[in-house]
């Protein structure tokens, strides 16, 4: 593939976005995550933090410490070719109770696709996902790797509240939610895992680029795991994957 030609978009004077595409695309996400890593390792003076998304990397900076031309060149110099599929640094196995009160849209999603809830569960739990980005609210992990046959446009009317730990799908995206929030996505299940828990070390579990697998569990295990997770216990390990 030819060298990528990202667009540089200033977001006011305090941030610049390096955009690799306008759609969700595995190559673009791989380029974003590679650039994110390179930017963090380069330690460019005046850079405050970088935010990867499916298709772009936004770099927040101190406008008084950075010359615009210099930061543009420095970022472009760090853009490499599309990386070969790299092994994730960590793999998280996330327990999920699917369906019923835990995933109130599972039956509807199955009906829409003309199949059974069990089939949807096995297709949702089959892939090894990657955390493409965390965003919207603290600890919300947006994943790439959803089985394309599960793609389903969002609900017409968003729900004003969906529970903490909701596992949902919207369009071609899969989501692990942390705290309760409004959502127009299809709710398949819930995990007791807290991807964001103030007071725990670490407060956040998932780094962009981490791998995630879903592990269906029985509803009977919910209470015990949920209590342990709320107490700050690690009910899931980020194994070193490679």
């Amino acid at each position: 593939m030819a060298a990528p030609q990202p667009r540089l978009l200033w977001c006011g004077d305090t941030a610049i976005t390096v955009e690799f595409g306008e759609r969700i695309d595995p190559d673009a996400t791989a380029l974003v995550l590679a650039l994110d890593r390179a930017v963090r390792e380069a330690g460019i003076p005046g850079l405050i933090e970088s935010v990867p998304t499916y298709r772009s990397l936004t770099v927040h900076l101190d406008p008084c410490a950075v010359e615009p031309g210099e930061i543009e060149s420095a970022l472009l110099a760090l853009v490499g070719p599309v990386p070969a599929k790299t092994a994730p640094r960590r793999l998280w196995r996330i327990p999920v109770v699917y369906g019923g009160a835990f995933g109130i849209d599972l039956a509807d999603v199955a009906a829409h696709h003309g199949t059974t809830p069990d089939d949807i569960v096995s297709r949702h739990a089959a892939p090894e996902y990657r955390v493409a980005m965390n965003g919207f609210l603290p600890g919300y992990a947006y994943l790439s790797g959803l089985d394309p046959s599960l793609a389903l446009s969002r609900r017409d009317s968003p729900r004003p509240v969906t529970p903490a730990g909701t596992i949902s799908i919207g369009g071609v995206q899969a989501l692990v939610a942390s705290i309760a929030a409004p959502s127009g996505w299809h709710l398949l299940g819930r995990t007791p895992v807290r991807s964001f828990l103030p007071g725990r070390d670490p407060v956040f579990l998932f780094e962009p680029g981490d791998a995630i697998r879903f592990l269906p569990i029985e509803p009977e295990r919910w209470d015990e795991l949920d209590r342990a997770a709320q107490a700050g216990e690690r009910i899931v390990d980020g194994e070193i994957a490679s």
Binding site: G12, T14, E49, C64, P68, G135, P138, F196, F204, F206
Partner: protein, 341 residues
Amino acid sequence: MTGRLALTRCHSALSLQDGGRRGYQRYGLSGSGAMDPLAMATANVLVGNAVEAPVLEFGLGGGRLVVEAGRGRFACAGAPCTLRLDGAPIAGHRTVTLAEGAELVIDPPREGTFVYLAVAGGFEARPLLGSISLHLRAGIGGIDGRTFQAGDTLAFPATEHAAPDDRTVDAVPLDRDAPIRIMLGPQADSFTKAGIDTLLGSTFTVSHRADRMGYQLDGPAIAHGAGGYNIVSDATVAGSIQVPGNGRPIVLMADRQTTGGYPKIATVISADLRRLAQRRPGDPIRFEAVTLAAAREAALERRRAVADLPGRLRPLAGIDVERLFGANLAGQAVDALRESP
């Protein structure tokens, strides 16, 4: 010794803030921090603190405080409002020493939105992720991540020795009539030329849907281009002007969502975001497009203004006499006392 301040009347817009958090947007957590960092810095410098020391941020509701223990040196800065110490009006943008039992009332501001109360040594709270700032949506910062309730108390380092002479500084400017400067983009190309003309040529007003997450503006609808109003989510910044399907712009603020799926037609420059924050529901807003070079120059100017704050402090005595004298000539002595911050 630790002093203790009780909040005897509060409002949901009252919160503890400092310079906010840096480094956690990659996990979905926006920075928070004072909505008007210049006003926070002014209050802090008056009492000898670092510019981003923890302060109380009062929104439109004001509040009432009682010193329950210890003695501290306080200062208010920001939107002009009436302050009363044990019932008697005092000026803002000055230091005042409050002894045990003193009651300070901060009335809702007459114009603008945010008033900051600093105490020498800073309010004490347990930082999370490097900041004590309340981020209500995330449930962190302040006291247990929640809004204050009447009866809550805050600790501060009490002063043992006699208070130094009181001092004052010029009021923080609100510039309510000046346009808010913006840079077009990052998604200006998602809008028609007419849509951009609407943004730059119209007068908007701050709607009642305005809080620390974002200010929704009333005014003419901004037309999207042929691509519509959905984009694949990308990152937001403080000052992003996103335009959802109804065409009504929303300026994202300190507690905003870190990513969003509406195109962002423009971005408020960093130096002017505090001026926008100080507008209140019903206030008019006009936008003016500037270049990156102009935005950076404004950011440098602001940086210099904050650095110069300590040199602009003046002894309080004399100044107030002059003010009273001038005000008396105009026959408005009482108003002069109530005039600031």
